[in-house]
Each structure stands twice: as C-alpha cells, then as structure tokens.
C-alpha cells in the first residue's frame, strides 16, 4: 500500500508546490465560494434582487450626475449603457479586491484550527463578485437592447477581458489579504484606495476624455486595458490594443508578486492572526 509522505520543516513552500496543492483543493474553493453566495442574501427581504438593483441604482445616479448634469462625453454611446459597461468590470474588480483582502482575517478561526492551502480562502472569496459580474453582464445586454446598441462579433472577447481582470485582481487581492492578517489597518485603507482608484480609471468617462499627452499615465493603471477593452467588446466599438497589452503585462507582474508575497507570508498566518 503506497501512502502519502509529508515532510514538515521550517523551509518556505515554493510557489509551484503551493499552486499544485491549491489545485488539489479546488473542490473546497467551490464549496467555500458557494457558502458565501448562499449566505449573502440570507434573511434579506429582496434576496438576489439586490444584485440587480445595486448596479442599476449606481448607473442611474451616475447617468444623472455625470451624463446629464456634468455632460461628460461617452464616445457617442447612450451614457447609461456607456457607464454600465464600465461599472461592470470595475465592480467585478473592486468588489473582488475588497472581499479578497478581508478574507483571511475574517477566517481566523479556520486558519488557526485546521490546515488546508491558505490560498483557497482569498480565491474562493472572489466567487460572489464573479456571480455579480455574470448578472450584470446579462443586465447590460438587456440595456443594450433597450437603447438599441448592437453588439458585434467582438463580444466573444469578453471572457478574455474578464480573465485579465481576474488575474490582476487576484494578484493584488492575494497581496492585500496576506498583509491584512498582520496589519488590520488595511481594512480601512483598501475601501478608500478603491474609491480613488475608480476615478483614475475610465469608468464614468471615456479614454478620449483624457488629453492624449497624458494618456500613457492612465495606461499605467492595470485595469484600464480591461475596463476599456471589455466595454469595446460589449458595445462593438473599435478596440484599442495598446492599453490592453500594458494591462496584460501588469497583470502578469501583479499575480507573480502577489503569489510570491503570499507564499512567503502564509507560514506565519496561524501565529499572527
């Protein structure tokens, strides 16, 4: 009978073996994500309707404030559709980061009492925002029909941009989740950071709104490519590939840094949490 042999020593686990172990626990990722999704609207009167109402209200307020009153241009697309397509990716990204960064600190009881690859917790915490993203995508398609915006073949590229968003989100989320274990300060820093971050991302305004001399500065933001790319893919407008390329490189860099930091920090989680 062959048996697994586990060696425990003080050495750090490598990124690859960490990932392999997390993969073995993929069922747990799904079960934890399902737990969060199921629990989320327990004891609410409106239930799942909240996932529909929240983005719609946000769209409504932004359309009145920025579309009607501030008259922010939207590249010829009806502003409500324009802003909703931006919010779609942005909300996915920001809600994912927010839940990721709190995930480990919020699971202190589990982390200190049972072993499983720690990475499972932040990854599973993204489940809720993924569901919201899918609901919002369906809403966008309905909105597009109402405002007679026709999608083109480009819509098949949407999953690619979603995966890109997921990659940069996970990179940042892993890093933040690990650091929040030690410094709870990040519970306050992260929401504030995300608030500011939205305004330096072309969500409520198009990329063309920024003078071309300063656009390179905008492109350094690793979500710009994904927000702008997904918007063009949905609405059938020309895709500009330069920011996407930059975001791709940034995302790969972020996920590497995130994984590295996480695997280094996870040795201490149970002692510090």
């Amino acid at each position: 009978m062959t048996k697994v042999v586990t060696v425990i020593d003080s050495d750090n686990q490598g990124i690859l073996s960490s990932l392999r172990e997390a993969w073995e626990f993929r069922e747990l990722v799904i079960i934890l994500a399902m737990r969060d999704i199921k629990v989320r609207y327990k004891q609410t009167a409106l239930g799942v309707a909240w996932s529909v109402l929240q983005p719609l209200f946000m769209m409504l307020i932004f359309s009145i404030l920025f579309g009607r009153l501030a008259k922010i241009p939207s590249d010829g697309i009806p502003y409500p559709v324009f802003v909703f397509s931006g919010l779609l990716i942005w909300n996915f990204f920001s809600a994912g980061i927010a839940s990721c960064s709190n995930s480990l600190a919020g699971s202190a009881a589990m982390v200190s009492k049972v072993y499983f690859p720690r990475m499972v917790i932040p990854i599973a915490s993204i489940g809720v925002s993924l569901v919201d993203f899918l609901i919002s995508s369906a809403l966008l398609l309905i909105l597009m029909t109402i405002y007679a915006v026709n999608p083109s073949w480009q819509i098949i590229l949407v999953p690619f941009f979603a995966v890109g968003t997921f990659t940069s989100m996970l990179g940042i989320g892993l890093w933040l989740s690990a650091i929040t274990v030690t410094y709870r300060d990040f519970r306050f820093i992260v929401p504030f950071m995300l608030q500011i971050w939205m305004y330096i991302t072309p969500v409520i305004y198009p990329v063309s709104f920024i003078p071309s001399d300063y656009r390179w500065l905008l492109y350094l933001n690793p979500v710009v490519g994904w927000v702008d790319g997904a918007r063009s893919a949905f609405l059938g407008t020309p895709i500009s590939w330069l920011p996407i390329f930059i975001s791709l490189l940034m995302s790969l860099l972020l996920i590497m840094v995130g994984l590295r930091h996480f695997t280094k920090a996870e040795q201490r989680f149970a002692d510090v949490i």
């Binding site: 048996k3 697994v4 042999v5 586990t6 060696v7 425990i8 020593d9 003080s10 626990f25 069922e27 747990l28 079960i31 934890l32 737990r35 199921k38 629990v39 327990k42 004891q43 009881a109 589990m110 982390v111 200190s112 009492k113 049972v114 072993y115 499983f116 030690t182 410094y183 709870r184 300060d185 990040f186 040795q267 201490r268 149970a270 002692d271 510090v272």
Partner: protein, 403 residues
C-alpha cells in the same frame, strides 16, 4: 508512521499577544535606526528539541499542564503552524480535530455544513457523498438536516460537528482536548469512536487533561513540560509519575521560588488553599459551585497599604483579576486573604492562576506567575470549545480586568 526530529517552535510575544503594533508604528520603526527596534519583541520557545517517533497503529497520549506545548505540537503536526527548526516526516494522511465545528456556518443547513466542514477537513465530494448517511446517523440529526445549524441545540451542533470529523478516516488522527465539551454521554460516545479508530489500526495522537480517558485510550504517553518531553513510555507508568509530581509541586513552593520583584523578599506565601485542598498545584473543581481560594502570608517587615491580586489566565491572556485591598491600614505578621469565585464564572475551562502583591505606599510590587492550575468542570456545558465567551460567563463584583 510519524518521525519528529529535533523540532523547535518559537513564538514572538509582541506579534501574537497584542495587536498594538500598528502599521504606523512599523513605518516609524523602518525609519528609525534599526538597532533600537530589533530587540523589542519578546519571544519564547513553545517547543524545545522534540524528538519522537510514533509507529503506525499506536495511540499516543500527550499530558502536561497548561502551556507545556501540547497544543503547539499538535498544531505543528497538523501543518497549521511551521516549526522554527527541525523536521517531521509523516507517512500517511493526517487529519486533525483541534476544535469541534471548525468552519461551521450558522446560516447554512446541516446538509450544507457537512459538505463544507468535510471539505475543509480534506474529504472529497465523493467521500462525503459515500459517508453522508453514516455521518447523519451517527449525529442523530436526520429530522433537522435541512435546518440552519443556528437553530440546532448545542448538543446537536456538537454531535454533528464531531460526527463529520469522526468520518474523515485518515491514517493518522490528531485530537486536542475537544472532548471536554458536551455532556457525559457525548464524551463517552466520542471516546468510543476514538477507540474504534485506534482499533482499526490507525495512529491516534490525543491530548487530554483527563487521565482516565488517556489511560483507557492510549498505549503510550508523553509527558510535556515547558516545551520539552520529559518522560515517555507505557501509559500507566508515565501518568503515575506525572500525578506524583503534581502532588509534590505545591503552590507554596512554586510561588516562593518564582516570586519576582522588589517586594519578593519581604513577603512570603505560607500556604494556599483551593476549595479545601491545601497547596496542591492542580485542582479540579465543580464549576457549578462557588470556589473559595485562601492565601496565607507572612510579612517580614511592616507593609503599608498592601493589595493582593489573584489573576486568572489562559496562556498569556488575563481573563479575570480578583483583588483584596481591604487588609486594613497595613499588614503585619501573618494574615490570610480569601477570594471567592462565584459559581458558573468559568465552565469547562482550564485556568492558570498567578498572584501579584502591591504595596501602594511605596509602589513596590512582586508577582508569581503560573503558581497553580484550576480545572473548572461541568457536565452540561452549553458552549463548545474554549472561546472567551465560554470561559467568562459572569464576573464577580470585585473584578477588575487588566490589559
């Protein structure tokens, strides 16, 4: 088979005990000179050079008083925390039960929690599907399987949680003192289940303060003290030498040997009586009754405005402090202080006690840490585990909480 080679574990007190060190201070430290900041945090060795080899199919019990390192050893074995030095090789799958109901979500139904908790403990979906009926049967919650567990009685909750853990079926099972929770019937059921596991040729490592369950379940026992294994061998032999040492190791001797501070030379503890037992290090008391602790003191020179504090703590965490500052104007010669702990203040808790004395006139202190140990036992504990809620039920009028 498990082979533990020279395992050490160090904890940094600064990081684990308080969270006072914030991000701001860390940033400040980064910018200050490195020499002043490096030696700030205290550390202690929770495990010191543990060498142990456990053959497949053996049952090993770990005994020793609070803070001896038993739980730390289990945490290192179950990979929850890393050893600072040393190496452990484990042949076979290992599953640990350090707390009953880890990962339970109150809003989810019994069914959903079985899948959740089972996967956290390393079972695959298929394994859980196969054992689902058995788990539900064993816990006896068939009727309520689709009810949220927050509506369960505490007994049902604990039974379901234990049942999941009992059906993981690893090669090696590691169990901390979780059996202290629940009623007598449940405890016996758990012990029976663990006996089945041991009989089926699996390896079991078991921590308990209950010598009766240790001796009935374990073939071998290791006695730990201050992070070291001081005796290992056949269970009855080690248990009896452990119990003998408890009787010899009186509170008085410990207190006077470890009294620290400027007042230590002027004040001596002559005897300490815990619920009628004189100078016994470890005492088991009934949580449902009021507890009386009296300490007799001898003073070498007149002390002005003396206060005596009796501190109850778990590990490094102070839970309750009783104070006697009604010793009159001053203390002279010999005197006795009496402390009363109301019934049900602690339930199913293992508490260390320390004494502090302060002469307020001159602001002189002395203190002796961990001079005794009181196990508050109760048969109908409504709260599983050692959470702070269950430790601290009701306070007395005289309590002040430090830290």
């Amino acid at each position: 088979m498990i082979k533990i080679d020279g395992v050490w574990k160090q904890y940094k007190l600064g990081n684990t005990v308080d969270f006072t060190k914030t991000f701001r201070e860390v940033i400040a430290e980064r910018f200050s000179s490195p020499k002043t900041s490096s030696n700030k945090s205290e550390s202690f060795w929770a495990l010191q050079d543990i060498n142990l080899s456990i053959q497949s199919g053996r049952t090993l019990g770990l005994i020793g008083h609070n803070g001896a390192g038993k739980s730390t050893l289990l945490k290192v074995l179950s990979r929850i925390t890393k050893p600072t030095k040393g190496k452990i090789t484990i042949h076979g799958s290992l599953s640990s039960l350090l707390e009953v109901g880890t990962g339970f979500h109150p809003e989810l139904s019994g069914r959903e929690n079985i899948y959740l908790c089972g996967s956290i403990m390393g079972m695959s979906r298929r394994d859980i599907d196969l054992r689902f009926e058995q788990i539900v049967d064993y816990a006896g919650v068939e009727k309520f399987i689709d009810t949220p567990v927050k509506r369960y009685s505490s007994g049902m909750y604990v039974r379901l949680a234990f049942s999941i853990a009992a059906h993981v079926e690893p090669d090696i099972l590691v169990v901390d003192e979780v059996l202290a929770v629940g009623d007598k019937e449940f405890r016996e059921k758990c012990l029976g289940k663990m006996d089945d596991v041991a009989q089926s040729g699996r390896t079991v490592i078991f921590v308990s303060h209950n010598m009766a369950s240790i001796s009935s379940l374990c073939q071998d026992v290791a006695w730990m003290n201050h992070g070291e294994i001081i005796e290992i061998g056949q269970s009855n032999k080690v248990i009896s030498s452990y119990e003998n040492s408890l009787h010899k190791d009186t509170v008085k001797n410990r207190a006077n040997n470890i009294f620290k501070g400027p007042l230590a030379e002027k004040l001596k503890l002559t005897s300490m009586t815990i619920q009628g037992k004189v100078d016994v290090y470890s005492t088991r008391v009934n949580a449902d009754e009021e507890l009386e602790i009296s300490a007799s003191w001898a003073v070498k020179e007149r002390l002005l405005r003396l206060s005596i504090y009796l501190v109850f703590h778990v590990g490094e965490t102070r839970i309750m402090t009783l104070v006697d500052d009604k010793l009159g104007k001053d203390a002279n010669g010999e005197f006795t202080t009496i402390f009363r702990v109301p019934a049900n203040t602690f339930r199913n808790a293992d508490i260390s006690i320390s004494v502090d004395a302060l002469e307020r006139e001159r602001g002189m202190w002395c203190w002796a840490k961990g001079i005794g140990n009181i196990i508050f036992s109760s048969d109908d504990n409504p709260h599983p585990g050692y959470s702070e809620d269950s430790l601290f039920h009701r306070g007395s009028g005289e309590r002040i909480i430090l830290d």
